[in-house]
Amino acid sequence: MSFLLECPRCGSRPVDEFAYFGEVTRRPKGSASLRELTEYVYFRDNVAGVQREWWQHRTGCGEWFLAERDTRTNEVLAIHLPQPERAQAGGAE
């Protein structure tokens, strides 16, 4: 079976309603070298375990949000809306 994902606005919906935008990555700061930029664009941790990742409720309300999902079981442990302050401070979101 595929799995259910919880949209922060609409609640539990089949995963096929959502668009997946990959694991959360860290954008290099300032004037980055080519190597830092290509690391950021192409390289991924691709963990077998809990992953923080981007989703959008594409065929629903359109909201973008973050989920923590165990990629070994597809169990979704947490979802939350992105926080702009954190994004500015850590650059992680």
């Binding site: 079976m1 595929s2 089949p14 995963v15 096929d16 668009a19 997946y20 990959g22 694991e23 080519l34 190597r35 930029l37 290509t38 690391e39 664009v41 192409y42 390289f43 991924r44 941790d45 691709n46 963990v47 077998a48 992953q51 990742e53 990629t71 070994r72 079981t73 597809n74």
Partner: protein, 404 residues
């Protein structure tokens, strides 16, 4: 006479691990086994072991839909896969094993002007490299595959196709077993149920491999772990530009044979072939999210069955027999990641996405040469991991997203 009633082992049961091997190959799929075979066969490197966490062929090598073809989009890709098809054509006699390779032709349908343009581009690249490949119209398609619905009834009527006569299907298990047996006969050790759990590094070199059955020292390491490449890379301290997804397929109950060719439709996200047993073998695209959970989904069955019926409405009453799933290691440009890494004696075969089975023989030949000579063969130089550091990609998106 009596011995025909007893199953014969195809390769020796595993013994104890030795303290050291010249070459340790991680992953007992088609790529690892082929590399071991050609190391021993072409280069006399026989102090080789294959470490496989489960049974031999348990990964994607035992789960793919066995499409073999060379009609890729980039000159680098097409030249590489062309050599693999040539090796496959001789492989049954080379390995003395009937691999049931049937080259009945491969059709990539075009349902739009854009689709026809892409087909034309691929045909031109292919022809320059001596690969048989041409764009054909509906009349010729009807001759090759009269059962296909070529009417204007489907949502996306068929306008033409890229026709690749040497494309075909093979018995994937036989390929795995034949390489394993061939490698074993040349002295390679095969260790199923032996998972690699770590690497011992000294500077830029790997000195030993830790496994669930103890530690082995090594001269060189090859990781041929496809969907698990990021995890094995991480154990060695190497980050890769790969994401792992599942790909699914299903077969129907057997029918009277009526489909010789392989039919692929990128627009409908589906492909169809008929096996030697008469089953219709139907596959689609990967699931978009990354996962290591090999469980199939109902939505896959629904949409791929619906789309297959757009092509072959006469399958309407046919029952689905079974469905399965395998892990795929997707690279950003749909081309493989092959050869040397920044760890001096750690080489990779990865980034195979949904299309790596057809490459097993040429991966084996070229990686064996690299390990034996320390030089990267020209054929695989474009696929070095380094291209992602320098941003010089080899995009096969047009020829590899749905066509495996």
């Amino acid at each position: 006479m009596r011995e025909i009633f007893f199953p014969k082992r195809m390769w020796r049961p595993r013994g104890d691990l030795k303290r050291r091997y010249d070459v340790v190959i991680v992953g007992g799929g088609s790529h690892g086994l082929a590399t071991a075979y050609y190391l021993a066969k072409h280069h006399g490197v026989k102090d080789v072991c294959i470490l496989e966490r489960s049974y031999i062929g348990s990964g994607a090598s035992g789960r793919n839909t066995t499409i073999i073809r060379a009609n890729y989009r980039t000159p680098e890709g097409a030249a590489f896969y062309r050599e693999s098809v040539r090796l496959y054509e001789r492989l049954s006699s080379e390995l003395d094993f009937n691999l049931m390779f049937s080259q009945h032709g491969h059709l990539t349908l075009a349902h739009s002007d854009r689709g026809l343009v892409v087909a034309q581009e691929r045909a031109e690249v292919n022809k320059l490299l001596g690969i048989r490949s041409e764009v054909i119209g509906p009349d010729r398609i009807r001759e090759l595959c009269p059962e296909l619905d070529l009417s204007d009834k489907p949502a996306y009527p068929i306008l033409g196709a890229l026709y690749h006569p040497p494309g075909g299907i093979i018995r994937h298990d036989a390929v795995v077993w034949a390489y394993a047996r061939g490698a074993d006969r040349l002295g390679v050790e095969i260790h199923p149920y032996t998972e690699v759990t770590g690497f011992e590094r000294s500077g830029d070199r790997i000195v030993a491999v830790e496994t669930t059955r103890g530690r082995v020292e090594c001269g060189q390491v090859v990781s041929a772990t496809a969907g698990w490449s990021s995890l094995v890379g991480k154990l060695a301290g190497l980050r890769l530009p790969i994401t792992t997804h599942i790909l699914q397929a299903f077969v129907t109950e057997p029918l009277k044979p009526f489909l010789d060719v392989i039919i692929v439709s990128s627009q409908l996200h589906v492909y169809v072939s008929q096996t030697d047993r008469g089953e219709f073998l139907i596959g689609a695209e990967i699931e978009p999210y990354t996962t290591y959970k090999s469980t199939g989904t109902l939505s896959f069955l629904e949409y791929s069955a619906r789309h297959a019926l757009e092509l072959f409405p006469q399958l309407e009453k046919t029952k689905v027999l079974r469905t399965w799933t395998g892990l795929c290691d997707l690279s950003p440009d749909y081309s493989p990641i092959l050869g040397k890494t920044e760890i001096e004696n750690f080489h990779v075969s990865a980034g195979w996405g949904t299309y790596g089975f057809k490459a097993a023989p040429i991966v084996g030949v070229t990686l064996a040469e690299l390990v034996a000579t320390q030089k990267t063969p020209a054929l695989i130089a474009p696929f070095a991991l380094e291209r992602f550091y320098t941003d010089t990609l080899v995009s096969e998106l047009a020829a590899a997203a749905v066509s495996h």
